[in-house]
């Protein structure tokens, strides 16, 4: 086991080509980052190395190894702020790398940041505090920038509390808002009010604003997509 851990520190994940972030071991023995496993378990359903099928319920009970990145990585420095996305009854921390990307883009004053999460491309809109899936604009979650000490459900779908993680992870996998495109109001949240809001304020605010999320127009959506098929 010690050797496995030492090896992992030297190696890169075969999917993202970076150092392992929350290394997760598949039944066939191959190890990838948790978010990479999430991507291949949902999309390819096979191990990226040996093509052994991943059990359909694997993500309900993933085998997580010690997180190397958290312990001794310098490529992802600690920030004063942590980015969160909304889950059922609480907030998930973004994984360390995505948090770095988000914080860097936010500090640079950019209006959004694109992230590849579990194999899908997302756009985090800093003005609306929303995460939107690029190829399916109805998949959206609220995001917030807050103190790292904010009580959270865990990191990127890995639960940190003692509760039974099974149902939670499964529920999170496909839980994203599908909004009614007929509602056309902006979300009334500014960065300040968001980070200072108490939990209760936020919940009432959310239940109000979630019914009022603006859908981007088709044209806007289309202009985001790279020109693929016409090349």
């Amino acid at each position: 086991m010690v050797d496995v851990q030492n090896d992992l520190q030297e190696q890169a994940c075969g999917v993202c080509l970076e150092k392992y972030n929350h290394p997760t071991k598949l039944p066939c023995g191959h190890v990838f980052c948790f978010l990479c496993v999430k991507g291949i378990a949902i999309q390819n359903k096979k191990c990226a190395m040996c093509r052994t099928e991943i059990p359909h319920d694997y993500l309900n009970n993933p085998v997580l190894l010690d997180n190397i990145l958290e312990k001794n990585s310098k490529d992802c420095r600690n920030h004063d702020y942590q980015w969160y996305y909304e889950g059922r009854n609480g907030w998930w921390k973004y994984d360390e790398r995505s948090n770095c990307d988000l914080e860097a883009a936010f500090v640079r004053g950019e209006k959004d940041c694109k992230l590849l999460l579990a194999g899908a491309l997302y756009r985090v809109d800093f003005e609306k505090n929303l995460q939107v899936r690029q190829n399916d604009q109805t998949k959206r979650r609220r995001v917030r920038r807050d103190m790292p000490t904010l009580p959270s459900k865990g990191i990127a779908g890995i639960k940190t509390s003692n509760d039974n993680p099974r149902e939670e992870i499964e529920a999170e996998l496909h839980r994203e808002y599908s909004e009614n495109p007929e509602n056309n109001q902006e979300i009334p949240v500014s960065e300040d009010s968001n980070s200072n809001a108490s939990e209760e304020d936020l919940i009432s605010e959310m239940s109000h604003s979630l019914s009022n999320i603006t859908l981007r127009t088709q044209e806007e959506a289309a202009s985001d997509l790279p020109d693929t098929e016409n090349r």
Partner: protein, 151 residues
């Protein structure tokens, strides 16, 4: 810019710093997911001496789905059709996110060395390859000379 996933940035850098012999892949200036590719015809194949242009595009959910690759240079090969589309399992159902741009291009180069007329895409070429291999190879050499040299 976090607009381009780190993995694509990493692969691009590595392609530039440690290029694969016989293969060049350069991202377009206007679209970092679109690569201009040149593959040299392998030695001891009918494509030897040719420089074959291809285009490679990384779709939005790459590496969860395979790159889209197409020959631009005309080529006489049983697994490549007249539109340049390639019949190669790793570009379809055998794709794995652990494969990379470089491994894909190496596989395509290997396909030039080992045509497989039993799994054809260009039926007329595959047919001739099976019934009269020497004539097929002569055609492939002729096409290589005509379309893949000195252009």
């Amino acid at each position: 810019m976090a607009a381009l996933p780190r993995r694509i940035i990493k692969e691009t850098q590595r392609l530039m710093q440690e290029p694969v012999p016989g293969i060049s892949a350069v991202p377009s200036e206007t679209n970092a997911r679109y690569f201009h590719v040149i593959v040299t015809g392998p030695e001891d194949s009918p494509f030897e001496g040719g420089l074959f242009k291809l285009e490679l595009f990384l779709p939005e959910d790459y590496p969860m789905s395979a790159p889209k690759v197409r020959f631009i240079t005309k080529i006489y090969h049983p697994n490549i059709d007249r539109l340049g589309r390639i019949c190669l399992d790793i570009l379809k159902d055998k794709w794995s996110p652990a494969l990379q741009i470089r491994t894909v291009l190496l596989s395509i180069q290997a396909l030039l060395s080992a045509p497989n007329p039993d799994d054809p895409l260009a039926n007329d070429v595959a047919e001739l390859w099976k019934v009269n291999e020497s004539e097929a190879i002569r055609n492939a050499k002729e096409w290589t000379r005509r379309y893949a040299m000195d252009n």
